[in-house]
């Protein structure tokens, strides 16, 4: 993860058959937990949502006002803005099954 606030997956635009996943990861500075969360997220998305996702990283250390408007408490927090409903997953996303469960993507 780099310092720029937004990262987009290049392949997100072309896949019309299923909805685009709009994900937002809230972090506060480049802490080990944030880095772990980002790499975990990236991996899970690549494995399960290839070409259908779009990750935005928000650094609350830079934009503290967003913590209030977006109701963020824990760091890191992953928010699924689309498809609705809004879901929140907190933690470093180290448990893949739980993340998929949170997204409603579990294949079990």
């Amino acid at each position: 993860m780099k310092s720029q606030p937004k990262k987009k997956s290049a392949k997100s635009k072309r896949n019309g058959d299923s909805p685009i996943w709009d994900l937002r990861l809230y972090i506060a500075g480049q802490t080990p937990k944030s880095l772990t969360a980002f790499s975990n997220l990236k991996r899970i998305c690549e494995e399960n949502l290839q070409g259908k996702y779009h990750i935005e990283v928000v650094d609350l250390a830079k934009n503290p006002e967003l913590a209030r408007t977006d109701q963020i408490l824990a760091i890191p927090t992953l928010v699924r803005k689309l498809p609705p409903p809004i879901r929140k997953i907190i933690g470093d996303l180290s448990n893949k099954e739980k993340v998929l469960l949170g997204f409603g993507l579990t294949r079990l």
């Binding site: 506060a28 937990k33 609350l60 963020i72 824990a74 879901r87 997953i89 933690g91 470093d92």
Partner: protein, 580 residues
């Protein structure tokens, strides 16, 4: 080298000690602005430290913390952040609007920020390590945006319901309170009362500088709120449970400890409005600022005396506050007009205020707070409470006594004269008030029924009156169409006579007196006659004596004449006989 080093060390220590000395050792306090609470905490909450406010549901935690925050912003220039974990900003604004605060306006003026932290476990999935840095950033941003000095976290324990990982949560809470302390904000943390501990999740473990416990108890269907300072590190504080009330002006704590016995006294006297009663009280009436108790059985005229006192004060141009717990204002005015007192005149002039309410309408503390509030607003010189024992119906005698002690002390510190009435139950000892009030009172006037000869009459006497000579006599007490009149009673071998017995006794006495008078006159006439008779007798005897004396004189003259004639005859004879 060694000695030089040692000298330097000692020098350094001396400087440090001096620095410590110059810094004030006193704990800095943030005034709450809540009436009574600053007195109980001897100046407010610990400044720059967290305070825990705990209590069961509905005891006023949120309101107390919100009011401290708002008053801090308005009255002490300390902006505040209210972080709510329970209610939305809209609800909170509506809640405080009922206390007369406009939260939106305060927010516009950058005095208060309300941040609602929405947390719902069903929306959140937890996976792996995390911390609450988001909350810190959020709070820090809110504090910085208005330069807040005070922070309320209401109720942070809700996080325990929203987050699964208790270990992380506890560690983060510990970090949060330390962080708040480091930032130097005066923080108020509310917590729901748990079983066996002050808060459900043991927040007192983290917040230990000051803990305030709120309580809401219902006794005999009447609720009373109470507040207690459980601990206050580094400061003295009141340790009792203090009743507090929530009304349209916010929270008021009523500290019993503020009742002191060092009020100023005056020797100024005020009239009771009944001239004969003033004469019984050393000739001049009550002391100004003293407390007067009028006790008596039902229908002995307690309220009538109160009305007289009120009327007399109004005539002097003083303001009177009359708390009526038995009758409505209009009823008092009507009843008193029947004894010649026009109270309406004083009400219209704004000198007399009658506050009528049923005792059972509020709890005891509410009553006291309302009484104090009205006194504050009206600033009267005479307060009448009629009657006090009705309050017993809403509290135990002890509580009423404590309340009245506070009230009496409050009135005395203000130099307000107070008249209390109390109803003595039939059959109870007259010299006993059911709430042990008498020691609080400076003057105790006792009204009693005197039942005799088939009728009841009213008697009045002064049981005690501190600092003045007072009459020890029972007077008969008449309620006439021109007001109260006191008259002497007949006290004789047959006991105290009042009413028609007194009247008949008086007429009996008058008849006896008349009879005696006639006796004396008769005797005098008799004597006169006697004297005349005796004098006549004396005169006739004297006349007799004189006549006898006269006779005797004549007789003795004749006798002498006869003797000399005899002598002359004898000489004549001798001469003729030529005797020798």
């Amino acid at each position: 080298m060694g000695t030089r080093w040692l000298r330097l060390l000692i020098f350094d220590m001396a400087i440090k000690a001096k620095k410590r000395k110059t810094r004030s050792p006193e704990l800095k306090k943030a005034r709450t602005g809540i009436r009574g609470l600053d007195e109980v905490t001897l100046g407010g909450l610990p400044q720059g430290r967290p305070t825990l406010i705990c209590g069961s549901a509905g005891c006023g935690k949120t309101l107390l913390s919100m009011e401290i925050l708002i008053r801090g912003a308005i009255e002490h220039g300390e902006p505040g952040v209210f972080m709510s974990f329970e209610e939305s900003s809209k609800d909170i604004a509506a809640n405080v609007a009922s206390l007369g605060f406009d939260l939106n306006k305060l927010a516009d003026k950058k005095q208060v920020v309300v941040d609602y932290v929405h947390i719902d476990r069903s929306e959140i999935e937890e996976t792996g390590e995390y911390d609450l840095e988001g909350l810190f950033i959020r709070l820090g941003y809110a504090i910085d945006s208005i330069g807040a000095k005070r922070v309320v976290l209401d109720t942070i324990e809700n996080l325990f319901g929203g987050l699964e990982n208790q270990a992380i949560l506890r560690a983060e809470l510990r970090r949060l309170f330390k962080w708040l302390k480091d930032r130097g904000v005066t923080a108020l943390i509310t917590g729901e009362r748990g079983s066996g501990q002050l808060t459900r999740h043991g927040l007192e473990e983290y917040v230990s500088d000051c803990v305030i416990l709120l309580d809401h108890r219902v006794t005999d269907q009447i609720s009373t709120r109470r507040l207690r300072i459980v601990k206050y590190r580094g400061s003295l504080h009141g340790t009792n449970e203090y009743p507090f009330i929530i009304d349209e002006k916010g929270i008021s704590v009523i500290p019993i400890t503020s009742a002191t016995l060092d009020h100023a006294v005056t020797s100024e006297r005020i009239s009771s409005g009944i001239p004969r009663m003033d004469r019984m009280l050393g000739g001049e009436g009550f002391f100004r600022g003293s407390s007067v108790l009028i006790s008596g059985t039902a229908g002995t005229g307690k309220s009538s005396i109160c009305a007289h006192v009120a009327s007399a004060a109004c005539e002097r141009g003083e303001r009177v506050l009359y708390f009526a717990f038995e009758e409505a204002e209009k009823q008092i005015v009507r009843n008193m007009s029947s004894i010649g007192l026009d109270l309406n005149r004083w009400i219209r002039k704004g000198l007399l205020t009658i506050q009528a309410s049923r005792p059972t309408h509020y709890g005891l503390e509410m009553h006291l707070a309302l009484v104090l509030k009205h006194i504050d607003e009206i600033d009267p010189s005479v307060v009448i409470i009629d009657p006090i024992n009705n309050l017993v119906s809403i509290g135990s005698a002890n509580e009423v006594n404590a309340m009245l002690t506070r009230l009496v002390d409050f009135l005395k510190t203000r130099g307000i004269s107070a008249v209390f009435t109390t109803l003595t139950a039939g059959g109870a000892s007259l010299e006993e008030t059911n709430i042990g009030m008498s020691s609080l009172m400076d003057t105790w006037i006792l009204l009693r029924d005197i039942e005799y000869n088939g009728e009841r009459n009213r008697g009045i006497y002064i049981l005690k009156s501190r600092g003045m000579p007072h009459s020890n006599q029972i007077r008969e007490f008449l309620i006439t169409s021109k007001g109260i009149d006191l008259i002497n009673v007949y006290i004789g071998p047959e006991g105290v006579l009042t009413g028609s017995a007194r009247k008949s006794q008086e007429s009996k006495l008058r008849a006896e007196e008349l009879l005696r008078q006639q006796d004396v006159e008769r005797q005098e006439a008799f004597l006169k006659r006697r004297r005349k008779a005796v004098e006549a007798q004396i005169a006739s005897l004297q006349a007799e004596l004189q006549a006898e004396e006269r006779d005797h004189k004549i007789l003795s003259n004749n006798n002498a004449l006869r003797l000399s004639e005899l002598e002359r005859g004898r000489k004549e004879m001798a001469r003729s006989r030529k005797a020798d």
